[in-house]
Point group: C2
Amino acid sequence: MNQPIDVMSRRIAILGSTGSIGRQALEWLSGESGMSICALGAGNSAELLARQVREHRPQAVGLASEQAAEALREQLPDGVELFSGPGAMCQLIRHTRPDVVLQAVVGAAGLQSTLTAVECGSTLALANKESLVCAGAVVMPAARRAGVAVLPVDSEHAGIFQCLQGAEKKDVRRVIITSSGGALRNLADEQAEKATVEEALNHPTWTMGKKITIDSATLMNKALEIIEAHWLFDLPAERIEVVLHPQSVIHAMVEFRDGSMLAHLASPDMKGPIAYALSYPDRPGRETTAPMDLPALGRLEFQPLTGRFGRAVNLGYEAIRRGGPAGAVLNAANEAAVEAFLQGKIRFGEILTLIETVFRQAEGRESFPDTASQPNEESDTLSTLLSADAWARKKIKQLLTK
Amino acid sequence: MNQPIDVMSRRIAILGSTGSIGRQALEWLSGESGMSICALGAGNSAELLARQVREHRPQAVGLASEQAAEALREQLPDGVELFSGPGAMCQLIRHTRPDVVLQAVVGAAGLQSTLTAVECGSTLALANKESLVCAGAVVMPAARRAGVAVLPVDSEHAGIFQCLQGAEKKDVRRVIITSSGGALRNLADEQAEKATVEEALNHPTWTMGKKITIDSATLMNKALEIIEAHWLFDLPAERIEVVLHPQSVIHAMVEFRDGSMLAHLASPDMKGPIAYALSYPDRPGRETTAPMDLPALGRLEFQPLTGRFGRAVNLGYEAIRRGGPAGAVLNAANEAAVEAFLQGKIRFGEILTLIETVFRQAEGRESFPDTASQPNEESDTLSTLLSADAWARKKIKQLLTK
């Protein structure tokens, strides 16, 4: 017997539901009528996923780890479909056909499911910036062809997106994204060199996952965000700027051709961008972030990027200018270097140096050793990007064993 | 023989063309194709108006002063119509039927021509906030009935208007307008009491006309702007806030019901709001205000309103809550008190005290001695407001001669 269909209900899939973004999304969705959770996917957190299933009653779940899936299987209520293995996220989308996919998988690992969401016509609420950094050249044209909206779930890009709501593209002169400076912002370059994992994870204004918190400390997060903005808003490198703003109150600004600007302000809380993307084109009907009291805040500060911060951000600009596989190389090198840092294999200062080395080696390269066969134009591009990604990870590994 | 009609040209009338806003509008319009100036009106500056006529070739001109009109008559090129006397601005609009009227007359003196513009179906670019403060209850319904847009030419309200472009009214929780604090912001209340005209006219961030510069120093400007925002955006007093912001970079903010905000930033230059209103719904196609360099600015500061500033702004809230003729009384008392200050008749500190006294005397009054006859509902309202205005001016005069 069929379930009665609630025509008002927006069916949401959350990929990466046990991570920081996924958990905050579920927390917000708990209080939200008019939205239902049709699918939850995670990497290997079987226990937490089981609890989420009991609370949110999705139609299907997925775990990338086969082993974790086995642990989950016994705990699933009747009728909940389980997918497992490397293709679990894609199967989950194909099986449930969500209205909106909140893509919150971390890293380039999210790319295939991003493409599957687009292919299935789901609106893409994209917290996984690496999909665009690595393969914006594939994701964005595919989304346009499918008529699928790509909505940013990144505070800066969500801010730009909100500033652009009443605007025309021809009127936009530049966008400015802000950076808190991350956990090590008060350390001089020489001191930051030797920062511990614990220090680098101690973000001053945002509570986020580990990988993105390290990206914030290196400012590689901004390099990636520049590339993300390039793809989301179709802007060249010279029209995307980054400014240090320690208070993390203004997340982004848009400057128009008449010289005036709009800025987006919000308490540093990812529930804001999550709720905005899931509710779009409506604005969330209730408070998602604490309102701000500007006189109590007192001041908003802005500083230019210098030293290691400037080096990191320049990699983002350079990747846009190079085009082709440069974003994939940069992103993969960063992922591999951050992983090495989190595993205690390298010092903090080496993250950026390693990335720079690999990025320099990739300059001028159009193809990479293990490029797969090329049945058509799109998968040609995609396979080039994937092999660039693999190449960069291998290069980091080689540098680490030297 | 008819002139060939340029269908692309937007015909603009400027009332108050020799004042600060009028001159800046003409400067901006000089470089603008697609807009033509059909009418220029002023108070009594015959010489400057004659120069403006030679440069901008309007179809008609008007001067409120008969004497100044005589001086202008001989200098007018053939075919330029001249209107003079108290009804000159209204005649100018009726004669030229502009697409847009930039209403930049100072004070409640602009009310009749504001209503004439609405009646003639001209889009109203409103720099004359006193029209709304005195008679929003007449102007706004008349504009709605005529299907006429009322576009703010006040930096704060233009800022709110820009923040609202992609928004729905139901999503707006509050609006915040900023104040530089005016010329005397660094003086304690006791010192400000005795400020000279010269000191009070020395505005730190904005170059404006005399009346509005004094209003900025007393913060009565914000009291009037609260009432203006109430009418323009249909908001109750408790959803309009004022915050001190010495840099005058953020002009206004809108807080949405999800807790996030948009802010409008621009260099303090009235050409921005003027050009925006004249170009609306398009955004000006070229730079109207110098773009901002936030790292160079360094910081934006915010402070609560205290002392005399709080007293002034409370008058605005109270006028909204009282409704009826309260705005007209407040505005007229302010105009008369500012005039007395500029003429050296009272000290700076007495401006606010005088206004408070008259505003207190008006409390609870529904009608005022010399209310005119009442042929219909609208003119009933209007005549009540006009007699409240006259009553308040008389009261100030009486207090001055005591």
